[in-house]
């Protein structure tokens, strides 16, 4: 390892622009003639649109245009789609209701876009938007998924009778029933996974520019995957053919899943730019983000876990109802299915599992992947069940888990996944040692003397990252492949540009990815640049989500580096009159191993481009591309332990310590990995303690600002005690597993297990606010 190579804590190359105020986010883009958009949004959760009057708005100062869904449809812009086909257990395809980017006859949630107003200033656009007169005929509303499935519930889409999108099964129901019939003990629970609102700090924004001279569109957008945005807008929404559409995702201020999807606003602004002849910028305000960004989670589950007389798990049954909101967002169907039920085996050797998932339309914002996407929901079910079972069986929660750990790999679970590597004892041991788990009871007694209820809880999670391979996900219904691309360009002076289809919106790719080239060629990291986020620069890519950029994105770079290295060695061997097999590249020199015959790296690059003296038949240049399609998911896992003190008088929970011991396989930059864990933990602890999304019965979002939705702030969180163990992932060349979501996946059950341990009442839902905890304490009295 060099000081800037693989494994080094290299400070981030991208930081300078962010700490000096020179970052360039979408809202920082100003182009000549640019105008501002505001969307007219539905105030009702469910209504027929009986009329839209735009004349008054059009007459307002500064207004350039007011456009509605009818004009959009007339121009052939398509409906928004979900790109992952799921079939119900009876073989029928999922029932996708129509989602027009601007609603024409029916609105189905508060925030549903109805019209766009374009004006000289943002203020004028908003004033005029208020002057657009939409008349509605209100319809009955349903916000809860359980209620939406009941007979007589309000119906959202004619395509989906009973609001049921699909009724899907995974696993062997018969084998699971047989296991339960012989069980010595069954733990049963009803578990709710609360709806969350992602809240990347940069609100979504887009700038659409139509160039009439070239008949060409440019879309600046807050996207985690600009290439997928271009593909979908071209192939499905008829905005423009791919060669006439450039999508640029510049600096993006966080995503957490919410910026994966192609929302109405991007394509409406592009279309409106052509329609009005001016560049159109739209920036969401925070309340718009609360209303109209895709939300996360929102599962209602009944689970049963069966044990034999030796406390070994013999079977697991899970029934989940997942709320997908008013429309099916781009990957919404995959989250409660292949990203959820496939992880229900947890870290445990479970011979029989059966899961049933029903997905449901309601009059709420669309729900899709949010940091963890299905895996936090699975982990919450599994780890709440394990802790509860341990309490019922009166055994140590750690020992019950240990007794059931998977210990031989590869391990085929009954729910598709084949775990390739792991050492769950190692992370459990590391976590328990760091938390002084053995000494807890003394601390509990000490706290009791101070009138505090102290509790400890753990969570042993496994997750799946770098969803793959493409052929497998295709067979499961995915509309896209899940490979990644890379191109390594060595310039004539030896500096290096790496083009990647991944996108960085906080993950530090400009540093971590550059470390690979610094390691490989011994060049300074400052001579390596990472290029991403622009479809004109990088031909194709699949973007960043699901903790895939390390395991998949960097593996593609490794493949391209292999090709560059091979060619560089051929050139060097020719220059040094040596055998190619004897050439090594070290510390910026290319040398014949074991001799003092060297040629500097930049001279090899220069030789490639002068082409004066290349091996016979070799093409000039030193630039190679690669596509990498993984052979399997990767499986990070770990143990999170939370220790809390609850004030019985107020219900206030204080986190005394939070330990995370994670196995991410090989790590390229530990500093960045630690940062990813910290952020994930904050979101997981936020879900457990603070973040609750509330719609009232009429479908109004009551938590639509930072005054109402409780974001974790600095004083809500402790400093974290985190560490890693390492079992390399065997399925990619770097041995990487992925670290972006683990914190949000492992932490919620650890927190709730700790609080319920403290208050001696297991009936506690998230978020465990002081009010909820206090009520649970009273109920247990």
């Amino acid at each position: 390892m060099g000081v800037e190579g693989v494994g080094a804590r290299v400070l981030r190359k991208e930081d300078r622009r962010f700490i000096t105020g020179k970052g360039k986010y979408t809202d920082d883009m100003f182009v000549p003639g640019m105008k501002h958009a505001a969307f007219v949004r539905s105030l009702h959760a469910h209504a027929k649109v009986t009329g839209i009057k735009v004349d008054a708005a059009k007459a307002m100062p500064g207004v350039i245009g007011v456009l509605t869904g009818k004009e959009l449809k007339a121009d052939g812009i398509g409906n928004l789609i979900c790109g992952w086909m799921i079939h119900s257990k009876d073989g029928t395809p999922m029932k996708m209701g129509a989602w027009s980017p601007l609603a024409t006859d029916t609105v189905r949630y508060v925030g549903d876009a109805v019209a766009i107003v374009i004006a000289d200033s943002k203020g004028q656009a908003r004033d005029a938007a208020e002057a657009v007169e939409v008349t509605y005929e209100e319809l009955p509303v349903v916000v809860s998924a359980v209620a939406a499935l009941k007979e007589g519930a309000p119906q959202l889409h004619p395509e989906a009778p009973g609001n049921l999108i699909f009724d899907w099964d995974l696993g062997d129901e018969k084998a699971t029933d047989e296991a339960f019939a012989k069980a010595a003990h069954v733990t049963r629970m009803d578990i709710v996974n609360n709806r969350l609102i992602p809240n990347a700090m940069e609100p979504r924004a887009t700038l659409g520019v139509y160039d009439a001279g070239e008949d060409h569109y440019t879309c600046w957008t807050t996207s985690q995957n600009p290439h997928v945005a271009r593909l979908v807008m071209s192939a499905f929404y008829n905005v423009a053919p791919e060669n006439k559409l450039r999508v640029i995702a510049p600096d993006v201020g966080g995503g957490f899943g919410s910026k994966i999807y192609i929302y109405p606003e991007e394509l409406v602004c592009l279309w409106a730019s052509k329609k009005t002849g001016v560049p159109v910028k739209w920036v969401a305000d925070r309340t718009e983000s609360f209303l109209a960004d895709a939300h996360g989670r929102d599962h209602v589950t009944h689970a049963e876990l069966a044990f034999d007389k030796d406390n070994r798990i013999v079977g697991f049954k899970v029934q989940t109802i997942a709320n997908l909101g008013a429309y099916m967002s781009l990957f919404s169907s995959s989250v409660p299915t292949y990203l959820y039920a496939t992880l229900l085996s947890g870290q445990y050797d479970i011979p029989a599992i059966h899961a049933n998932v029903k997905t449901v339309y309601t009059n709420t914002a669309p729900v899709d992947a949010y940091r963890g996407a299905g895996r936090p929901e699975a982990t919450f079910v599994v780890e709440r069940m394990m802790e509860t079972a341990a309490r019922e069986l009166k055994v140590s929660p750690a020992e019950l888990r240990r007794k059931n750990f998977v210990r031989s790999f590869p391990h085929q679970t009954p729910v598709i996944m084949c775990y390739d590597a792991g050492d769950f004892d190692a992370t459990l041991d590391a976590g328990m040692k760091a938390a002084d788990y053995a000494g807890f009871e003394k601390r509990r007694e000490e706290a009791a003397k101070r009138g505090k209820l102290r509790g400890i809880g753990m969570s042993c999670y496994i997750e799946a990252c770098g969803i793959a391979p493409s052929a497998a996900v295709g067979s499961l219904g995915a509309g896209v492949g899940l490979w990644e691309s890379a191109e390594v360009r060595v310039n004539a002076v030896g500096t290096i540009e790496i083009l990647t289809g991944s996108h960085s919106h906080g993950q530090g790719h400009e540093t971590t990815f550059a470390q690979l080239a610094a390691e490989r060629f011994g060049v300074p990291i400052d001579s390596v640049s990472i290029v991403h986020g622009d479809t004109d620069k990088v031909q194709m890519g699949m973007g960043t989500y699901g903790s895939r950029s390390g395991a998949v994105g960097m593996s593609a770079i490794v493949k391209a580096l292999d090709k560059v290295e091979a060619k560089a060695k051929k050139i060097a061997a020719h220059l040094l009159e040596a055998d190619e097999a004897d050439i090594e590249i070290k510390n910026g020199d290319v040398r014949v191993a074991g001799t003092d015959k060297t040629v500097p790296w930049f001279q090899v690059a220069l030789a490639a481009y002068t082409a004066h003296n290349l091996p016979s038949g070799m093409e000039p240049g030193l630039k190679e591309g690669a596509f990498y399609d993984p052979s399997n998911f990767t499986f990070p896992g770990g143990c999170h332990i939370c220790e809390v003190e609850v004030d019985p008088d107020t219900g206030t929970t204080e986190i005394i310590q939070f330990v995370a011991a994670d196995d991410f396989g090989k790590i390229i930059n530990p500093m960045i990995v630690e940062g990813q864990v910290h952020g994930g933990l904050a979101q997981g602890i936020g879900q457990a303690l603070l973040e609750g999304t509330h719609y009232d019965d009429s479908g109004q979002l009551l938590t639509a600002s930072y005054m109402d939705y409780t974001m974790p702030r600095a004083q809500d969180l402790p400093s974290f005690n985190i560490m890693t163990t390492e079992t390399p992932c065997p399925s990619n060349p770097l041995g990487i597993k992925g670290c972006g979501e683990a914190g949000a996946i492992g932490s919620p059950p650890a927190v709730i297990n700790a609080i319920t341990d403290a208050i001696r009442n297991n009936d506690l839902a998230m978020p465990a606010t002081p009010q909820a905890v206090w009520a649970a304490i009273q109920a247990a009295k």
Binding site: G21, D28, F30, M201, G253, G506, Q715, S719
Partner: protein, 162 residues
């Protein structure tokens, strides 16, 4: 329209803006100082913090016209000599930023915090005083470290035990 006269990052500027224009929009749109960000509509997130006459202010909570006559420092002016301010250096060295969107506001709030606490800072104080700045990426762990680090290095007192 309101006439706005400010000294921003050491330079005298004048401009006209709609009466309702917030200081943050004037800085971003009239002056092109896009380092100051807008992250919410309720003065909660702190992405827009600048210094007005030497004190941290949420520039979304002040009209541009109201600020007229003031001296304003934005993130672009935190370190006028081209070298990093000790806080900027500490944020980088402690990996206290990820997506960078909240960072300018965090830095401006933290600079004010360190100024107000010449006796030095401890973890609890830093966490309490960051109440008005929301970060969704870092879990605050490294931000707190960076502020303590900068506070210590700026020589305004040793870090007290937490």
């Amino acid at each position: 329209m309101a006439k706005v006269e400010l000294v921003v990052n050491g330079r005298a500027v004048t401009g006209e803006a709609e009466d309702r224009t917030l200081l943050v929009h004037f800085l971003r749109e009239n002056l092109g100082l896009t380092g100051t960000h807008v992250g919410c509509d309720t003065s909660q997130c702190g992405a827009c913090v600048v210094h007005v006459d030497g004190r941290a202010v949420k520039s979304c909570t002040m009209l541009a016209a109201q600020a007229s006559g003031s001296t304003v420092t934005t993130i672009e002016g935190l370190s006028p000599n081209g070298e990093l301010h000790p806080l900027q250096a500490a944020f980088r060295e402690n990996h206290a930023l990820q997506c960078g969107f909240c960072t300018p506001g965090m830095l401006m709030s933290s600079a004010d915090m360190i100024r107000r606490h010449p006796e030095g800072l401890d973890e609890a104080t830093v966490r309490l005083e960051l109440e008005g700045n929301i970060c969704r990426c870092t879990g605050y762990h490294n931000i707190v470290k960076a502020v303590l680090d900068a506070s210590a290095k700026m020589g305004k007192g040793a870090v007290k035990a937490a």
